[in-house]
């Protein structure tokens, strides 16, 4: 629940003073010359006062339209019958979704379900592996102060190697196993681990780790037991949020998959690529919409967990 309340605070505070020169009440509690101040503090003649706000709101409206209109149009037109003309026509048909998912008589892929299941299974595996590697590092970084902590932190939270390079290096290094589920698993896990580390770290930082640990230790619990049964369960929300983020991003990780995937079966990212590069417009729309639904579901889950969404920075 921290997310919404936090953003509420930040809206409310400056929202009450949107540049209109609110005068603070005098510290002695007496009446201020608010009316007079209101009058002379407005420099209403300045050009930026007259056009600044409409201009900025216009820019924001344009940005929001740019970011959302294609998403909405894609989702809506995936249910359309034909796309000739300015707007799609012939609602509502599930034909494109059926073709994309492999139930139609034609389409880019005869049966997409095994590939989708394969990719989702790998994303799940990468997510579980991320819990194993990410939670301990996040705990070490949040709890202890040690030599080279900054370096470990930088390595753990910054995705320094792009997925494309990692993919090429992977295939060349492990020619026998690189193009396999194992290779995809390791790559997804490493590429998405910063999201897990950051999310869990912020959840650790919000608790008093030293006191929690010392109470448990003084009551007789060993260190591993303290870690597994006291500390980690307390960070449950952060871990689940990290899982949702890493899973969703791994499911559609394209750059790495494109270099590594062997094609049997096709991972989800390659499924998207094929449907985008050589399918009809509306069929592509349906394929892309499959991922939209996954993302929206993930965002809803994150909202329920009180996380702000995919942005893990700036808690």
């Amino acid at each position: 629940m921290t997310g919404p309340t936090k953003s509420d605070e930040s809206d409310g505070d400056p929202g009450s003073a949107p540049g209109t020169a609110r005068t603070d009440p005098r510290p002695d509690g007496g009446a201020t010359e608010a009316a007079a101040a209101e009058e002379w503090s407005r420099s209403g003649t300045a050009l930026s006062t007259a056009i600044g706000r409409p201009l900025l709101v216009g820019v924001v409206a344009l940005v929001v339209a740019f970011l959302t209109v294609p998403v909405i149009v894609t989702f809506v037109s995936s249910f359309a019958g034909s796309a000739a003309g300015v707007v799609p026509k012939g609602f509502v048909t599930l034909e494109h979704w059926r073709q994309v998912l492999g139930f139609g008589d034609h389409g880019v892929q005869a049966n997409a379900i095994p590939g989708l299941a394969f990719s989702l299974a790998i994303a799940t595996g990468g997510m579980l592996l991320n819990v194993i590697i990410g939670v301990p590092v996040a705990y070490a970084l949040a709890r202890y102060d040690f030599y080279a902590r900054d370096w470990v932190n930088t390595f753990a939270i910054l995705p320094l190697v792009p997925g494309l390079i990692l993919g090429i290096a992977f295939v060349q290094t492990y020619p026998d196993h690189g193009r396999s589920a194992l290779g995809l698993l390791a790559g997804y896990c490493l590429l998405k681990s910063p999201y897990m580390v950051l999310t869990v770290q912020s959840s650790f930082q919000s608790m008093d780790l030293v006191r929690l640990e010392e109470s448990a230790r003084s009551l007789g619990a060993s260190w591993p037991r303290t870690l597994l049964t006291i500390v980690v369960p307390h960070a449950k929300r952060g871990i689940v949020a990290g899982c949702v983020i890493t899973w969703t991003l791994a499911a559609a990780e394209f750059n790495f998959t494109y270099m590594v995937a062997s094609g049997s079966p096709d991972p989800f990212a390659i499924f998207l690529y094929r449907n985008i590069s050589n399918a009809t417009h509306l069929q592509s729309a349906a394929a892309v919409s499959v991922y939209f639904t996954i993302v929206v579901a993930a965002i809803l889950v994150l909202q329920l967990l009180g996380n702000r969404g995919f942005s893990t920075a700036q808690r």
Partner: protein, 307 residues
């Protein structure tokens, strides 16, 4: 003599450190062991999946025979250093991503400013709309640009109807403007994310004071707000530029500008297969990203550039 002595001394110190970490006797050593245990899984994966493959790239770039990994030669590096085409790719990448970064950060400042300073009725919705694209991979962004500017695209059709032109002539998804918008689409949400965090922390009283003293809105922004958000802008530029360099899916679909990721893809495709050059480009590319990030981190706090 002394060099050897100090070398043996440091080896001995590392050995002692390792042995006390493995078999600790004091509380401090026990804590060190805990830290080592906690960091071990991450670094095991990072070595297997990250460092070893990167070392292998170095080997490939220096190999004479790239199929069996035999022999040594500097041919790939020489080709990379002497062929003007590669310099052009590097320049293409830098200015294109730099421009996309500039536009994204400027728009990000506008969005963050409006979200923070103005009481908008649909603020939640704007926030959701601006952060949603963070989860979209590059190929989907490319498709969304096609939806807007492709031959059947929304904007294309609208302009065609308004001006009476043919949609095919107006389609610009696979022109460089389309690719540029694709980059901005990916980068703008990240820039906004960082800048919103910065805006939430600035001191509104100084702005109020400036306004009370008669400064116009623009003067207040330029002289008061801008210096306060400058660290956020730097952080946003670092994050955005680094993300922009890694974009591949968008450029693979739209293919209108030869940037480094597309070039690497080219070098590993069947027609012009030269893994040594691909490895060399990849190494330069990774070295640049790492150097850029570390130099950038000197100017801002570490946690401002996350993700």
């Amino acid at each position: 003599m002394s060099v050897r002595k100090s070398a043996t001394a440091s080896v001995r110190r590392v050995a002692t450190l390792a042995s006390t970490t493995a078999r600790p006797t004091t509380e401090r050593e026990r804590e060190r062991r805990r830290i080592a245990i906690l960091c071990l899984p991450f670094f095991a994966l990072a070595i297997v999946a990250g460092f070893v493959p990167l070392a292998m790239l170095v080997r490939i770039s220096l190999a004479e025979d790239t199929i069996w990994m035999e022999g040594w030669s500097l041919e790939a590096w020489e080709t990379l250093a002497t062929t003007p085409a590669y310099r052009r790719v590097a320049w293409n990448t830098l200015w294109f991503v730099g421009l996309a970064t500039g536009v994204s950060v400027a728009l990000g400042v506008a969005v963050a400013h409006v979200l923070e300073k103005y009481a908008l009725s649909l603020e939640r919705l704007v926030v959701a709309a601006v952060s949603f694209p963070i989860a979209l991979p590059g190929i989907i962004v490319a498709y969304l640009i096609v939806v807007l500017l492709g031959r059947q695209g929304l904007v294309t059709n609208a302009v065609a109807v308004a001006t009476g032109g043919a949609p095919i002539d107006l389609a610009s998804a696979t022109a460089i403007t389309g690719l540029f918008l694709g980059y901005v689409y990916s980068l703008l949400p990240r820039a906004t994310m960082v800048l919103r965090g910065t805006y939430a922390e600035i001191n509104a009283q100084a702005e109020e004071a400036a306004r009370t003293l008669g400064a116009s809105r623009w003067q207040t922004f330029y002289h008061v707000t801008l210096p306060e958000i400058r660290p956020g802008i730097v952080a946003a530029v670092i994050l955005t530029f680094r993300s922009g360099l890694a974009i591949f899916g968008t450029v693979l679909i739209l293919q209108s500008h030869r940037v480094v990721t597309l070039q690497i893809h080219e070098e590993t495709s069947v027609g012009s297969y030269s893994p040594d050059i691909a490895a060399a480009i990849g190494l330069v590319y990774v070295a640049f990203i790492v150097a850029f990030t570390f130099v950038g981190l000197r100017f801002v706090e570490n946690d401002a550039v996350e993700i």
